[in-house]
């Protein structure tokens, strides 16, 4: 319990330093652009591939579990659409990114810590927490909504291509299904969750990396902890946000 409270306290103290006034805006802007490429653009590939196949599987599973003449076939498209928008493209993609981006952030910052690069920044008079972490948070919060939109589009396309190829639904029924009873707020809900999850992934992982004490073994441990803690926090906030935004 004491360790939890101590870690929680140090997380908030770190956030206080991260959001302090930047030393030089032009340098932070440049760093943010680099992080947009590193954390954002380089995640498009994995998000696209996973979303395509998950969309396909969701469509096939919906089709095989609704093989009943009472249900109209277009419900397969509707079910796939809502599953992808409400849960898959925000929460599941966030969990995947917690693994990819979170471990990357924790190991990068952890390595900077054990090789004294963070000490070097501090000694120069640079707010190391802000210089290293703030651009990552800004980049993820700005870019992850685009990843979610890409995930939604490719997921729905995956369901359409595989669903029609497997013969579980026709193209017309699928397209009718994804348009039927569409609630635009669901997109807003998904994007709000994405922004919160992006903040959680970057800050929780950065906190783990920043507080590494030791050598390469501890960097590995911090990387694992970053993924576990980010994932658990995402799941917790998923429940809270769903209750707040959809109730």
């Amino acid at each position: 319990m004491f360790r939890f409270l101590s870690g929680f306290g140090s997380y908030w103290m770190l956030l206080g330093r991260v959001f302090a006034k930047p030393e030089k805006h032009s340098i932070y802007y440049r760093q943010t652009m680099k992080e947009l490429v590193s954390l954002g653009l380089r995640s498009i590939g994995i998000v696209t591939i996973i979303s395509f196949f998950m969309g396909a599987v969701i469509t096939l599973q919906t089709a095989y579990n609704t093989e009943n003449p009472i249900y109209p076939t277009y419900l397969i498209g509707l079910g796939a659409r809502d599953s992808i928008i409400l849960e898959f493209s925000s929460t599941i993609v966030a969990l995947i990114l917690a693994g990819k981006v979170g471990s990357n952030i924790a190991s990068e910052i952890g390595t900077m810590r054990v090789t004294e690069q963070i000490d070097a920044l501090e000694l120069m008079g640079v707010n190391s927490a802000s210089y290293i972490i703030l651009p990552k948070v800004v980049a993820a919060v700005l870019f992850n909504p685009f990843l979610t939109l890409i995930s939604i589009i490719t997921g729905i396309m995956g369901g359409w291509i595989v669903g029609t190829s497997a013969g579980v639904i026709t193209s017309q029924e699928y397209i009718y299904g994804i348009q039927y009873a569409f609630i635009p707020y669901y997109i807003t809900y998904s994007l709000i969750k994405t922004v919160v999850f992006a903040f959680i992934i970057t800050t929780v992982s950065a906190h783990q990396g920043y507080n590494v004490d030791g050598g390469s073994l501890e960097v590995g441990r911090a990387s694992t902890k970053a993924v576990v803690y980010s994932s658990v926090t995402i799941l917790l906030f998923n429940v809270i946000l769903t209750q707040l935004l959809l109730s």
Partner: protein
Amino acid sequence: MIRAGHISKSFGGRQVLTDISAVFEPGKTNLIIGKSGSGKTVFLKCLVGLLEVDEGEIYYDNVLFTGLDFRGRKELRKQMGMLFQGSALFDSMTVEENVRFPLDMFTNMSYDEKLERVNFCLDRVNIVNSNSLFPSELSGGMKKRVAIARAIALKPRFLFCDEPNSGLDPKTSIVIDELIREITVELNMTTIVNTHDMNSVMENGEKIIFIEEGAKCWEGNRNEILKSDCRILNDFVFANALARQLKDSSK
């Protein structure tokens, strides 16, 4: 000038530094020597504020560093440069970007002015045609020299070097020692070097502090060290037969 008074530091009940007082003079290479684990690095990190002291005071000229708040320390740190044991170059930056970093961060110089300063610093440490290389492409000695170039980019008044010769061959170690001594005089810096390299002690030891088990055990210079009767110091400095012969011949 840096003045440390009655510095004590402990970690979780384990006393690492006990009541260390010392004065480090400008224009001189001040050495802190002692065996591994004696507390040299902790003392150096306390001096630059990377570790908080439990007791004692540290003055930079007449400014009480230990009494400064975060902003005050930040300002003072712009006058400090440090060469870390592992060089601590930024992996994601090239040699040029590493040296330019403090200039980018704290000056309003134009790109050309910064480049001129970077090239001057790199030239000063004998690094040529390596601006676009990354730290992973450099040898240990080159990394140390680039780290020195970065440390002096802002013309600091205080230079700290933590084991500058660790991992280097004897010849490269001498080059690094000479470089530190030369730039200390050129920039009239107060330089403090942590070392257990006896060659450095004999070459650069204008002022030497010997730390044993976290306490100051002896203070003097390279000439006095040869005549010292301090048994613990002699056991450390003249640990091998050749060094003992040197001491005997100096008597």
